[in-house]
């Protein structure tokens, strides 16, 4: 497994772990009627801090383990794989942006199945926070698609 592939696995694991924890906390607080704008803001701050700390720690760890390749910069195949991943992510993000605009302009459309989560729409937060969570979910799905695509091409060959 190349250094780049290992690094992508780490980023994907961190992304899923941190945001899963965030949404579990969000729905748990909502179920206990403890959800406020302030608690959401602190959860988001925690996400940012945890992401930075975990990325730094784990990337340093794999750089120590794989020290021969740690200073290696992306070659043409890495760049192509990265671009392929970004293309899928862009498509998902574009759809997400369109749906978010539709939801903002026509809130009644939110009953359609294409919207992320009925639980999310039911949370007790101002509308702008719901819109923000739509964007977060689509960005999250886009990132997961990007990393997964990259890992697929690293495994299968490109």
């Amino acid at each position: 497994m190349s250094y780049k592939e290992r690094s992508t696995w780490i980023s994907l694991a961190i992304l899923i772990y941190i945001w899963l924890e965030y949404f579990l906390a969000l729905f748990s607080l909502n179920a206990n009627s403890q959800l406020t704008v302030e608690t959401v803001n602190s959860l988001l701050l925690a996400v940012v801090i945890k992401t930075i700390v975990l990325e730094i720690l784990l990337q340093i760890t794999i750089a120590i383990i794989d020290n021969k390749d740690a200073d290696y910069s992306a070659d043409e195949r890495d760049i192509l794989i990265s671009l392929r991943g970004s293309r899928y992510a862009y498509g998902i993000l574009s759809v997400g942006a369109l749906l978010t605009v539709l939801y903002t302009v026509f809130p009644t459309l939110s009953t359609l199945a294409i919207f992320p989560s009925k639980e999310l729409l039911a949370i007790d937060l101002p509308n702008e926070y719901k819109v923000m969570h739509f964007i977060i979910i689509f960005a999250l799905v886009a990132e997961i698609a990007k990393f997964s695509t990259q890992l697929f091409f690293y495994r299968r060959g490109f």
Partner: protein, 70 residues
């Protein structure tokens, strides 16, 4: 009939004092995994990388890569 790109890199490495994939990768300026992917025919390199490989083995590019019917 579909055509595909094949290569003789594995044999050429063997003929050059059993050059390792890592050594070739370092000379070309790509990762070892990229050399592995090229050797297996899973990745077709850019012309620049193809020329570099040919230059390292001191042969023409067509002696390294062939465009043949499957």
């Amino acid at each position: 009939m579909t055509k595909t790109i094949t290569n003789n890199i594995r044999r050429l490495r063997f003929d050059h004092d059993e050059m390792t994939q890592k050594a070739l990768a370092d000379l070309v300026g790509v990762s070892r995994q990229t050399v592995v992917a090229i050797e297996k025919g899973k990745y077709s390199p850019s012309l620049e990388v193809a020329f570099k490989i040919a230059e390292i083995f001191e042969i023409s590019i067509s002696e390294v890569f062939q465009y043949v019917e499957q």
